[in-house]
Symmetry: C2
Subunit: 739 residues, 2 copies
Amino acid sequence: MKKIILGSACLLVSTLFASAQTKSIAGFSEQSSAQQRQTETTFNNTLSAENIGATIRQFSDRPHNIGSPAGKLYADQIAARLKDYGFETNIETYQVLFPTPKTRLLEMTSPAAYKAILKEPALKEDATSGQEGQLPTYNAWSADGDVTGDLVFVNYGLPADYDELAKLGVDVKGKIVIAKYGQSWRGIKPKVAQEHGAIGCIIYSDPKDDGYFRGDVYPKGAFKNEYGVQRGSVMDMVVYPGDPLTPGIGSTKDAKRIASHNEAVNLLKIPVLPISYKDAQPLLAALEGPVAPAAWRGALPLTYHIGPGKTKVHLKLEFNWNTVPCYDVIGKIKGAQYPDQWVVRGNHHDAWVNGAADPASGLASMLEEAKSIGALLKSEWKPKRTLVYCAWDGEEPGLIGSTEWLEDHQQELQQKCVVYINTDNNGRGFLEAGGSHALTPLMDGIAKELTDPQTKVSLFERANARQVVNATSTKSKKDALSKKDLDLGALGSGSDYSSFLQHAGIPSLNLGFGGEDEGGEYHSIYDSYDDYRRFKDPGFAYGLALSQTAGLAVLRMANADVLPFNFSSLHKTINSYVTELQSMVDDLRDATATENEVIGKKLYQLAADPTLTYNPPAAKDPIPYIDFSGLKNALDKLQKNADSLSSSSKKMLTAGTSEATFNNKLYQAEQSLLLPDGLPRRSWFKHSIYAPGFYTGYGVKTMPGIREAIEQRNFKEAQEQINAAAAAVNRLAEYLGKL
Amino acid sequence: MKKIILGSACLLVSTLFASAQTKSIAGFSEQSSAQQRQTETTFNNTLSAENIGATIRQFSDRPHNIGSPAGKLYADQIAARLKDYGFETNIETYQVLFPTPKTRLLEMTSPAAYKAILKEPALKEDATSGQEGQLPTYNAWSADGDVTGDLVFVNYGLPADYDELAKLGVDVKGKIVIAKYGQSWRGIKPKVAQEHGAIGCIIYSDPKDDGYFRGDVYPKGAFKNEYGVQRGSVMDMVVYPGDPLTPGIGSTKDAKRIASHNEAVNLLKIPVLPISYKDAQPLLAALEGPVAPAAWRGALPLTYHIGPGKTKVHLKLEFNWNTVPCYDVIGKIKGAQYPDQWVVRGNHHDAWVNGAADPASGLASMLEEAKSIGALLKSEWKPKRTLVYCAWDGEEPGLIGSTEWLEDHQQELQQKCVVYINTDNNGRGFLEAGGSHALTPLMDGIAKELTDPQTKVSLFERANARQVVNATSTKSKKDALSKKDLDLGALGSGSDYSSFLQHAGIPSLNLGFGGEDEGGEYHSIYDSYDDYRRFKDPGFAYGLALSQTAGLAVLRMANADVLPFNFSSLHKTINSYVTELQSMVDDLRDATATENEVIGKKLYQLAADPTLTYNPPAAKDPIPYIDFSGLKNALDKLQKNADSLSSSSKKMLTAGTSEATFNNKLYQAEQSLLLPDGLPRRSWFKHSIYAPGFYTGYGVKTMPGIREAIEQRNFKEAQEQINAAAAAVNRLAEYLGKL
């Protein structure tokens, strides 16, 4: 085995550093850069794609959701591995709520009888698809319920879809809605349905978004077949994630809990069930009422109507509201120089079913890094800072393991955690990196030095090529062509970085590859090793690339002389958000005035087909001018102080001085951006720059307090939030000024 | 009957003139305006929606394509009606080529056997759908052929689709292509396929464009059911329309003809067949090769692949290439004052099958006008100018009746024809008016005075409301809101105005209503009275509106003191086209330079999935700067002379002088815009401002010589065409200057 690894490693050495080998690494002096590159080459030489594949196979060989026997088994196996690699390892266990289905019934009772199948069949082409112990198709945190009502098709079930329904004279009060998966995180759909008075919610995967329209279906191709169902959580995680009974605190055995899940404000009051397009088709075909707007229609061979009509459905769901153990595996290597500065690296280990892609692919890359770090330790090398490798449980139902651990250790982590580096599912394609924008130069350096396994150019070049090619206007193509630095994305939610970044203000990164690994296996029994090796990352070259990428980020943050935080990059990013928000308000003002003129002249009525029901929209309040000056002034101050800090860091590097307390202050700086009261109506989310959208879910809203107030046309709140963000930016500027 | 007509007419009187009754009519003095309005009210009072419905029913009660027994019967019936109304009527007969099918066979021979049905079934809900004498589903002017080959899906079959195929490494040489109906006139698809070396072409109606995706299918709803097939001509009418054997001359009995249809340059060399989506589905489902780009995919429940693969099809088509009589019905009422100034009004009478919408709906409105004019004649009223009402035969296979008549009488018509006013199929909705832009004020006046039957606002207001509501940006909404005048569309092709306007330079209008009459009946057996009365114009209120609109245009052009040609409007329109063309060249220059940079840096390859075939596009020649100054100078001169002519016309009206020769010159002015050599590669098309697109068909290309040269990146020709257009505009300016 070892020979093969070294053999393939030799090939890799020549391509590990695509370029820039003569340049210093961000945060390292010239001298220590050379040393660091040697460490990184050694690190790389023990990574093995083949081994990553074997690890994916191991950690997807049976269903292993939180609370399952295999969940415990895998936690133990991961712990054993980390120990074996030289990590000081333990399993921290939390006691958390986790509902599983007891009864699932969906039937159409009128105009024809149809009983939904609610079952994905085993396939001979997929070795694990027929295993015992699979969680059935369901949405965790649906309410218990037994409801019967008229059915209404609500497109993706977003607020704008209900505006459209109102125009067509359809309301959902007392009815059951059927929504398509897509365009938002799934939990938004039942939440908005509930807000509009629906009594139940069905979510299905339309073949246009996730099925034969996209490509050949499984097992012939990668896309969702007619029986495939996306499981998933519908906890209102944009209010708070983690165990719903213990917001803000770790759900240790004796933690003070909310008395009942019925009192948790982030849980639904209506039943929700995900179904396949095979089960959706008879329901949709039976709908009457207006024909759905063109943009709502999917790829089923029928005319999409909205309903209601004679179509009645009966939805009955009951759950076991059990408390289960949540096993977080935590492995540490003590820092030789700064043991109280922690570089934290994590990936979850729980899956909905077998989870070869989600999460085993990211987990395998992380364990491969740990293995290589273990090998480094056997040489002279020691990390300056402490490394903490974490495998989280309970990510799928609500980021539970990571959130509980963060909440449990919040004070210590806010003191010690230099950075949290997250991965999750991984596949073939392009580097997709998101995170705290002060870390842009770190990731920019890595993306420019590492080589894409397929094209042999740097990760940056390949990602940039995609950006250029996908740009839809000449202007945006030119902008992309002129990009010199990596575009670090802003983080919303959907994986375990959320509590670190958005609750605790700890600098975070989320890394992965994708774009050439599309398929329909997500959260189904077909997210299997057989699917993964055929469609997601054949040969596991991108598993290796992820180990390299995250590994370099870990090693550089662990051993940097001066931590590579660049607040000038952060300033530039925030400034671009604010410019965007200002335009957004101006555009909204212009659009609202125009729209009100159209409404006032009754042009909607005149343009509408008089034979169809049509309720024109109501005029909206004119958009006031609001005051961004405080925020702009704060940004000016931030720019000045950030630029002068950058100079100090450079000087330190040249002088070869490195100070623990200076570094300490650098990584704690982002906490200045936390809002003392959190975001309106969801105080758990405290970051003033990044949050998941209240009505989009995973999708990020940058400057969330301001942006969402504008979107909701609440300009009093928008002004308050501008002021709150200005105070946060001022705090950061002043903090940096004192360094 | 008469009582009822008067009764309903009384109701209409109050709404005929929505507004502006106190303003003078364009082209009329104040005094004659009042008299004209009285005439128009009387005219209107004898129009009857009910009667229009009965006429539609009569002229769709059996299949009546050119050359059929009912075609002759209908011509005779129309002639009898016109005679009865007081028109001096005769039938002018041409002898024209018209192919009908002898053999139609389409079968898939591999990987599975499938024989196409090629037949629309009779429906009990559609009384005429089971009649004898229906033309089978076919494309007229397909070549005879018996071909077998691999099948390739080519999207809509347009040039850009073949660029995409080249990128994917697929060519069609020696293969049979299957293209979707839509996005271009159908004849473009086999023409482009033939240019690329295909040996056969199948065209089908995808349910996304024309089927259940759009709405409920016939007979439940209006949209195309799985068996529906769109017949239609694939003659290359953008080269020349009419009988392919007699380009430029009338196909009278003794006309000199091209020896054989095989020598006609506007006929295809490959066989073409239209099919239903039921017949297309097994073929498309069997295709292998790359998955089609997302924009290519339709609404069939399958993954759209491009092919080729094991899918082989056999297409065998044979036609009877018969010569048939073409019966144009021509009815005249001699002008009392200017008998040699003719206002020509036309609509075709032939259909592919029953043709209730196409053409009986427009024909019925025209005959209703004729009836009312007949009633006017029985009072004191006489038209000043001669009225010529024409019902054309052979429009469907290639605008044959109108083209042969125009070519036969070209010199006389260029002398006498004041305007040609065309209608064709009509339906519920919005006024859609296109034509020579010097006639903008005429149509603007009519659109503002007439009332929309459903909303009771003016036709202009309703059409403008739609424009505002459909605008996709705030800027375009504001532009539409600020519009004070009717947007007269530019004319491409697709109906009988083509030869008048584009070959002879006779000012033309094309009028109709639509937008709330969508369906899938077009050129199928289901374009029936049963379909029409349910889905196209229930109650025939828009049939009446069309009679009013076209009738007022006829009556005003017939009796105007000074013909309402406004060349300032024309100047404004041409000027906007030229501005657009200049931006187009600049944008293309910018886009090409950027694209070449992307190609030069090999970014397409880097962004592409390396596991799939991908041929990057080749760099294109940089776009030179070209000289629009001659054209701009000519436009300046046109503006000056047009403005001063407008003043003269006004003065004449105020003075109450009206001169036959001045009017003569006004309506002949547009002929100055004809290009002596016609357009490149299609000299039959002579208008410098309007033509159907060489690669779009019906769709108009304004400033066609210039625009198409730019689109084809032929900048030498673009410059030549700018110069030719400048000469034409100069000719018009000088001509007007001498008036």
